[in-house]
Structures are given as structure tokens and as C-alpha cells.
């Protein structure tokens, strides 16, 4: 089985979010970048497929040279090879189109992407690549088993979960549940050394149109201080929620 894991290079959750160039660009100054959390669960699940059933695992990212450390980290975790599509990730569709080209060229059976990236939160890339490559698609995927070309997956729905069957080629939008947080792997020294020798191929992008464009960013208005209510004065809390906040 050939598995492709799509990796987003995103600012760590604890990063300060600031913008530059007249609020049009994300300020990467002093920001620590990580593998997108939803992608990391998928990467670990891919490693389990490789170890238990035999599979090759390729990781791919759309981005400039500055995103390579994130791909090297994925290699250190255990992926066999990496591909970097050498262009700026401008919007979800453009990313999906670039990835689809790599998927079609590489003939992957299973594509694992995160349900959304924690930076732009588009949540559209997995579905778009399924649509563009005509593969089956399971979003919000919290478990996945594959036998031959048949797949059984569980997807999170509003208020519960649902079990589905489908077949390869398959794209999933993965999240926590594919593996648990305690299953995530931290690269060890041997992995880091080996990752240096693993192939990291840089491919040039295909032409794509800008279906959407980012005009500018805004930060939310800073929040006022919390209104404290004494534990023996809960009538006041009910009153505030009803008359001031108007939410009950």
C-alpha cells in the first residue's frame, strides 16, 4: 500500500499571532513551527500501517524551503520519503490542486490529511483532493482499518459517530482518535540521523488560479476584564446572563 500523508507547516498553538505589511501577512518572527496537530495523528496512523501491514509512507507539503525542517521531522518520525511542492500555500484550492498532481503522479492508494490546519482553518483541502482525484472520502475520521482494497472507517458526526465502509483509493480528513495523543512519536536521535539521508524531493508547482485571496487580517477587539460574582450571590450571575449578556 502506498500512503501519502499531507503535512501542514503551522505555527505552534502557543504562538503569538501578529501580522505585518499592513496586516496582510502573518508575522513569522519568533514563531515556532510544528507539524499541524491533525496531520500528526494521521502520520502516526500511517506508521502503524507500515509496521503492521507493510506500506510505504511519503509525506508531502506545499511551501517554500523554510518548511523543510517540518518535513525532516516527519521523516525522523519514520516516513520513508518526503516531497516539497515549491510554492507558497495561498489558498485551500491551490494547495489541493498541487497535492492532486503529486497524488496522480505517484499513484497513492491512501491519502491521509488533517481535517483542518490550525492556521487558516479552511478545512477544505482533504475534500478537494478527493474531488479532484476522484477518490473516496471520509472526513473527521477517527479510526481507519484497511484490508486489501476495502476500508472501514469511523467518522465523528454532530452528537456521535458513524461507521462507514469504502474502498481504495481513499482520502481521509483525519483527527485525534486515529491514534491518541499518547501514541504520538517524538523523533529520537537515530530517527533524526536517518532522516538526513532520506530523500526529500522538491517538485515545481503546476499552474493554478487564485479562486480566493486574502485581503487582510484583523485581530479581535481585546476582551474586557472578567466580571466576578461571589459564590453566595448566584442570583446576580443569573441576572447578568439574562439582562446584560442576554444569553438565557
Amino acid at each position: 500500500m502506498k500512503i501519502l500523508v499531507c503535512i501542514s507547516h503551522v505555527p505552534d498553538t502557543t504562538s503569538k499571532i501578529n501580522f505585518t505589511e499592513g496586516d496582510t501577512k502573518f508575522d513569522t518572527n519568533g514563531v515556532q513551527f510544528v507539524i499541524n496537530p491533525n496531520d500528526e495523528f494521521g502520520l502516526t496512523r500511517a506508521m502503524w500501517f507500515k509496521e503492521k501491514q507493510g506500506a510505504s509512507v511519503t509525506v508531502v507539503n506545499v511551501g517554500g524551503p523554510e518548511t523543510e525542517p517540518t518535513l525532516r521531522k516527519a521523516l525522523a518520525i519514520g516516513a520513508d520519503e518526503a516531497i516539497r511542492i515549491n510554492t507558497e500555500a495561498t489558498d485551500g484550492f491551490a494547495v489541493a490542486k498541487q497535492l492532486s498532481k503529486v497524488i496522480q503522479d505517484g499513484g497513492y492508494d491512501l491519502v491521509i490529511a488533517g481535517r483542518e490546519s490550525i492556521d487558516y482553518n479552511g478545512g477544505m483541502v482533504p475534500g478537494m483532493i478527493a474531488g479532484l482525484t476522484n477518490a473516496n472520502f471520509v472526513n473527521n475520521c477517527i479510526s481507519l482499518e484497511i484490508e486489501g482494497t476495502n476500508a472501514t472507517a469511523t467518522r465523528e458526526i454532530d452528537g456521535g459517530k458513524e461507521t462507514v465502509t469504502t474502498s481504495l483509493p481513499l482520502v481521509i480528513g483525519g483527527q485525534k482518535g486515529l491514534v491518541e495523543e499518547s501514541d504520538l512519536r517524538i523523533p529520537n536521535m537515530r530517527g533524526i540521523m536517518m532522516a538526513r539521508k532520506k530523500p526529500l524531493q522538491v517538485v515545481e508547482p503546476v499552474a493554478t488560479e487564485a479562486e480566493t485571496s486574502s485581503v487582510k487580517f484583523e485581530k479581535p477587539v481585546p476582551k474586557g476584564a472578567v466580571t466576578l460574582v461571589a459564590p453566595d450571590n448566584l442570583d446576580e450571575l443569573v441576572n447578568l446572563l439574562h439582562n446584560e449578556a442576554k444569553v438565557i
Partner: protein
């Protein structure tokens, strides 16, 4: 006499031409409608369906056009007229009883094409966010998600969306001829319109499913986190799963959904489906009540889209107090039962 006849014929020709041009213009206006997918569950509209209908009406007003809704196995679509829908395309097909993203996306695509819709609106429910990327590819539509306001401009078509997990807003333009917008839950609200919708049966072609539902595991008597206006959430401060009775009671009094922090779901005290936060379910409720939750940044990232936040915690230094609107420093085991009594009394008065 002959020249006169020619003149009359020419006049008749001119009049026919004028009428057909007029009809063409009317048609053109008509086929520019805004299409909204109004989703239902067991025949009943979800609350988000009425919210996206309200949003579609606002967009249609800006564009000077009408709203067409497409429904799938909804039992009574007349309520949509109250939220600004002018016309409903009702799809009734037993094959579509269980949700299938590919088939539903195809149905909405065919409806959009039939109406010549230039703007298509969906909600941010798990199902809509599942089908929308497939729909975007099918319609060659630029797609913006997590949209929180009506377009600030329709030419260029510009919307405000959340990004960086609610730590920022992003103004985005959609450049394609057909535009697809997913509205963030509880961001626009319901806007009533006195009107009525005409209804029409619509029988689109149904594609191969590809993905087949085997079983659904869902508590049908509970409000889901996605649909809830109020979410009551509890954390490790509750000490054990046996103490959740009061959380469920508080939720019941408020008509709220129950949720929990990540440690609680990791410990197996509550099901994973209740876990909210960055790696769990996103919450965008009107009111979020956090009980015994310290407020780790990953938790706050997932719930920050909620409008009003209340925290109940023994530790006044808990980071949640910085993110909350209202706070009670106190022991949940005393505060929650007392709050339930106060709320019961309040509800009885209403």
C-alpha cells in the same frame, strides 16, 4: 397597400423582439438567485438551516435577487419562508435517507446549476463541511469557510472569516464566477422575514455513493454541541465521572449540550465525542459554561468562538478567568447545585 403591410409586419416583429428581450432580462435576474442548502435531520430542519437561510436572504438583498433553498427529505419546508426563502426545491429520495457527502454534494450542485446560482451558502455542521469541498470542486467555486458576517462587499465578493483558531479574522475575496460560503454556526443568528416560499419537487440524478454507512452511534435525545446555543463543559476539577450528574442536570435546565476538556476524555470519564478544544470539537455557542476547567491554550482555542463565557473554578489564578466574561471563584460541588436551583427558579418565573 403593400408598403403598409410591410410596415405593420415590421412593427409586430419589433414588439415581439422587445418582449423577448424583456423576458430574457427577467430570466437573467431570476437565474442569479442565491442557493442555500438547508439541512434536516429525520425530516426536521436543524437550527443551522434557519441560520443559513437568514444569511442567504441578507446576501440576496445585497445582490438584489431571490433565495432558493434545496432540501433533502425534509417533511415540511414551509417554515423556510419565515427566514427569507422565496423558493424551495424539495428532493425526496429514500436512497438519501442516510447522509452521503458525495451524493448530497451532487444534489446541491445540480440544484445550483438548475437555478444558475452565483452564490451558494452552507452551514458549518459536520455534514456540510464534509460535502462543501466536494461541491466547491464540482461547481468550480471559490470556497470560504468559518464566515461570520454578511459580505462586506459583493464586488469584489469579500467576506470576514475566522483564522488562526479564532485568534484573528481574515478578510477574503472569492474571485470565481460561482461563490461558496460556509457560515460559522451561531455567528449570524436567525432573522425572521414575513414571507412565504413557493415549493417545487426536484429529482436530481444520484451518483454512486463510494462510502456506505454501516451504523450510527448517536444519542438522539441530547442536544449536540454543534447545534447547541448553550454548552456546559466540565474538566478534571470534577474529580471523577461519578460527579457528572450535576453537569447533566445543569445542561438540562438550560437546554444545553454537555462537553468536557481533553484530560477528561483521555481519562475515559466522558466519551470522546464530548471533547472540545483544538483537537476536539469546535464550539461556537452563545454561552459556554466551563466548570473545573483551568483553560489551557489548546482548550481556549477550540471554544473561543463562543460569545459569552462563564468560568467556575476554585483557583482564581486559572487562565480561564482571563478569557471569560463572568467568573465565580468557588467550589463546583457547591456552586453548581446552587446555580441549578437559581436557574430553575428563574425558568419558572419566565
Amino acid at each position: 397597400m403593400t408598403p403598409n403591410w410591410i410596415w405593420v409586419l415590421f412593427k409586430v416583429y419589433e414588439i415581439i423582439n422587445e418582449i423577448s428581450t424583456f423576458v430574457e432580462i427577467k430570466n437573467k435576474e431570476y437565474i442569479m438567485s442565491v442557493l442555500v442548502y438547508t439541512e434536516s435531520e429525520q425530516g426536521k430542519f436543524k437550527k443551522v438551516a434557519l441560520e443559513v437561510a437568514s444569511y442567504a436572504k441578507a446576501v440576496a438583498n445585497q445582490l438584489g435577487t431571490t433565495v432558493t433553498a434545496v432540501t433533502i427529505n425534509a417533511s415540511d419546508a414551509s417554515v423556510l419562508g419565515n427566514y427569507g426563502v422565496d423558493k424551495v426545491l424539495n428532493v425526496t429520495n429514500a436512497q438519501l435517507d442516510a447522509f452521503n457527502a458525495k451524493a448530497y454534494a451532487d444534489v446541491v450542485k445540480q440544484a445550483a446549476e438548475k437555478e444558475g446560482a452565483k452564490v451558494v451558502i452552507v452551514s458549518s455542521s459536520a455534514d456540510s463541511k464534509y460535502l462543501a469541498p466536494l461541491l466547491a470542486v464540482g461547481l468550480h467555486a471559490g470556497y470560504a469557510t468559518n464566515v461570520v458576517e454578511a459580505p462586506s462587499s459583493t464586488s469584489p465578493f469579500t467576506v470576514k472569516r475566522t483564522a488562526f483558531t479564532n485568534k484573528a479574522f481574515n478578510m477574503t475575496t472569492i474571485n470565481t464566477d460561482v461563490k461558496l460560503v460556509a457560515v460559522s454556526n451561531n455567528s449570524f443568528g436567525l432573522v425572521e422575514n414575513s414571507g412565504s416560499a413557493s415549493a417545487e419537487d426536484f429529482a436530481p440524478a444520484i451518483p454512486e455513493f463510494g462510502v456506505h454507512v454501516q451504523s450510527v452511534d448517536k444519542a438522539s435525545d441530547k442536544v449536540s454541541i454543534a447545534d447547541a446555543e448553550i454548552v456546559v463543559s466540565a474538566g478534571r476539577g470534577l474529580k471523577g465521572p461519578e460527579n457528572w450528574g450535576m453537569i447533566e442536570e445543569l445542561a438540562e435546565v438550560l437546554g444545553a449540550a454537555t462537553a468536557c476538556s481533553k484530560p477528561v476524555s483521555d481519562l475515559g470519564w466522558r466519551p470522546h465525542s464530548e471533547h472540545v478544544g483544538q483537537t476536539g470539537k469546535p464550539v461556537a455557542s452563545n454561552l459556554y459554561i466551563a466548570i473545573g476547567i483551568s483553560g489551557a491554550i489548546q482548550h481556549l482555542a477550540g471554544i473561543n468562538a463562543s460569545k459569552v463565557k462563564v468560568v467556575i473554578n476554585t483557583d482564581p489564578e486559572a487562565p480561564f478567568f482571563k478569557a471569560a466574561d463572568y467568573g465565580v471563584v468557588g467550589d463546583a460541588f457547591e456552586v453548581v447545585p446552587a446555580l441549578i436551583e437559581k436557574l430553575k427558579a428563574f425558568k419558572a418565573q419566565q
